[in-house]
């Protein structure tokens, strides 16, 4: 009798699945390779050239673009602001998301509140930027107007002044994305069966113990997904910053992050300099940053997945 190993043996109805699956997957894969993967590779290549775009031929310059970047204060400014969103924004987003998730659990209007919290995520970022601009406008903005109306004149600020505008950007991003992560975390928490909490209650666990002994361990995989999503979101977020920082035109340099700088140096609309090599090098830095952090998070947060 012949005993073949389990691997590679598939049930008869699935035996030719390799070929069949290929026909199901091919169209999606083709588009994906064509629109995402090939351009990504091309961007890496362009980052080693100096190129002014169509009509100009790219000239190979090796690591010049990167050398130039790493000596440029503008680049480090953008880089640090991106890290600022990632770290400061991330802390705030996760703090509020966690808080809201815990609070919403026992609130009656839970679904409604969640829907409102999430709403900014379906609104065009330009509209959000307009709203945020109106809110923080220095002279007749809603926030200052409100502060004056309730007699807190001393708290008014020129929220869009270069020294604090980026804090306003981060505040805006926190306002937008908190709802998104509340949704993700809540889905993770909601699928924990109630009886675990009931069992914990019967054992006399405090709410803090329930958080650390039940909720966190059982949502760990969702948390890790959320962390990865935040890294990606924070590094590539562009539209809100672009529209808010420049009120619909080229944004002030005090709000530049990596993606804004890519756009500004490579494709900027008002005074395009078409430094495609430079722009590509910054884009490559973004990709590397995303990749590095995602791998890091996966490493740190890797745990056995709990099935329940």
């Amino acid at each position: 009798m012949e005993v073949s190993s389990a691997k590679g043996v598939s049930p008869p109805h699935l035996r030719h699945d390799g070929r069949r699956a290929a026909t199901f997957i091919a169209p999606a894969l083709t588009i994906y390779l064509l629109i995402i993967m090939a351009p990504t590779v091309a961007t890496v290549w362009i980052s080693f050239t100096e190129w002014r775009g169509i009509g100009d031929s790219p000239e190979f310059v090796g690591l010049d673009n990167y050398r130039h970047l790493f000596r440029s204060d503008t680049f480090w400014g953008s880089f640090n602001r991106t890290l600022g969103i990632l770290a400061v924004g991330g802390l705030l987003v996760f703090f509020f998301s966690f808080l809201f998730t815990m609070l919403l659990r026992e609130m009656r209007a839970k679904k409604f509140l969640r829907a409102v919290l999430f709403f900014p995520n379906v609104v065009p970022p330009v509209a959000l930027a307009i709203a945020w601009g109106v809110l923080l406008a220095p002279r007749n903005g809603l926030l200052n107007g409100f502060l004056e109306a309730i007699g807190l004149d001393f708290a008014t600020r020129t929220w869009l002044a270069p020294d604090i505008i980026f804090r306003s950007v981060i505040a805006g991003l926190v306002w937008i994305y908190t709802g998104f992560f509340v949704t993700i975390l809540m889905a993770g928490v909601d699928r924990i069966p109630k009886h675990f909490y009931e069992a914990a209650d019967l054992e006399g666990a405090s709410s803090r113990q329930k958080l650390f002994r039940v909720t966190l361990p059982l949502t760990w995989d969702v948390l890790s997904v959320a962390a990865v999503l935040w890294v990606i979101t924070a590094i590539k977020t562009f539209e809100f910053i672009y529209a808010f920082g420049g009120s619909g035109t080229d944004p002030s340099i005090a709000t530049w992050t990596l993606p804004v700088q890519v756009y500004a140096v490579a494709l900027g609309n008002r005074s395009p300099i078409f430094a495609l090599g430079q722009g590509s090098a910054i884009a490559v830095v973004m990709v590397v940053l995303v990749g590095f952090l995602v791998v890091l998070i996966r490493r740190i947060m890797h745990r056995r997945v709990v099935e329940f």
Partner: protein
């Protein structure tokens, strides 16, 4: 004994107080968002010269003029049509291609299925900025820049990773017995897929909505890949209106534009927010 009880009561009181404070905070946050939305909507009916003078006043007249201004500012007839074509086309094509791919990746057993899922998911992490330069160059090589076809194709590409990722989540959650029942009854692979497809419909609807909302709100690709007035999408239109505010200062017109762009979203959202929200989280929690 008594003091222990009192201590417990005090502790519980403090806990209740902090919980009450927390709930209040949630409501403040939510009401802040709603108030801002309400203010924008009301402002769209105000007069330009008074809108910022008295921030909290109600509109004194039905300034529908703002909306007709907005219509022109946005070139709404054209931009809406362009957006509908590219977003609708991009979403439909994405779903048509992503559904069978996600099905095969989750329900057919073949070597490399799981690395392939990861490979698609990789695309979620690629920022648009990392592809837009070669994409612009490449599309212009084949005369697909400044073309709604080119934009549709691009939309399809950028939506693909997330769509495939979401839908693998949905297909994975379907019971395999149903599929086996169809197989035992003699259904062909294509037939099995067509039996399973309606079961995945809630997931498909959610994925399509999420893809469509994302594309509707997108402006970077549209801005870079199209440049004729006649090829603009509504997102680009709104950005340009915003940018033009420097010179025109027609704020109420801008607010009316925002309201116009938000209206379909608000209607869609009040109707389908649960589907969108719950659909979004399947991929993250499965």
């Amino acid at each position: 004994m008594e003091s222990v009880l009192e201590l417990g009561a005090a502790k519980r009181g403090a806990r209740l107080a902090s919980k009450g404070f927390g709930r209040l905070f949630v409501w403040v946050w939510v009401l802040f968002s709603l108030a801002m939305l309400a203010w924008l909507i009301l402002a769209a009916f105000k007069r330009n010269n008074t809108v910022f003078r008295d921030l909290w006043a109600l509109p004194d007249s039905n300034e529908l003029q703002n909306f007709s201004d907005a219509w022109d500012l946005l070139n709404l007839a054209q931009t809406t049509l362009n957006s509908l074509l590219t977003v609708g086309g991009g979403t439909a094509l994405t779903m048509a291609v992503a559904a069978p791919a996600a099905y095969a990746l989750t329900r057919m057993r073949f070597r490399g299925a799981s690395p392939m899922v990861s490979f698609f998911a990789l695309g979620i992490g690629v920022p648009v900025h990392a592809i837009i330069i070669p994409l612009f160059v490449g599309l212009s090589e084949v005369n697909l820049t400044n073309s709604l076809w080119g934009l549709t194709l691009t939309y399809m590409g950028v939506s693909m990773p997330f769509a495939v990722f979401l839908m693998t989540g949905f297909f994975r959650s379907l019971p395999s017995e149903l599929e086996e029942a169809a197989v035992v009854e003699g259904a062909s692979p294509l037939r099995v897929f067509s039996v399973m497809l309606p079961l995945a419909r809630p997931g498909m609807v959610a994925s399509a909505l999420i893809v469509a909302v994302g594309l509707w709100n997108e402006f970077l690709l549209a801005l870079v890949l199209t440049y004729d007035e006649g090829k603009r999408t509504i997102g680009v239109g709104l950005l340009n209106t915003f940018g033009a505010m420097r010179y025109t200062s027609n704020w109420v017109g801008l607010f009316a534009s925002v309201v116009i762009m938000l209206t379909p979203l608000i209607i869609l959202y009040t109707w389908l927010s649960r589907r969108i929200i719950e659909g979004l989280t399947v991929g993250a929690t499965k």
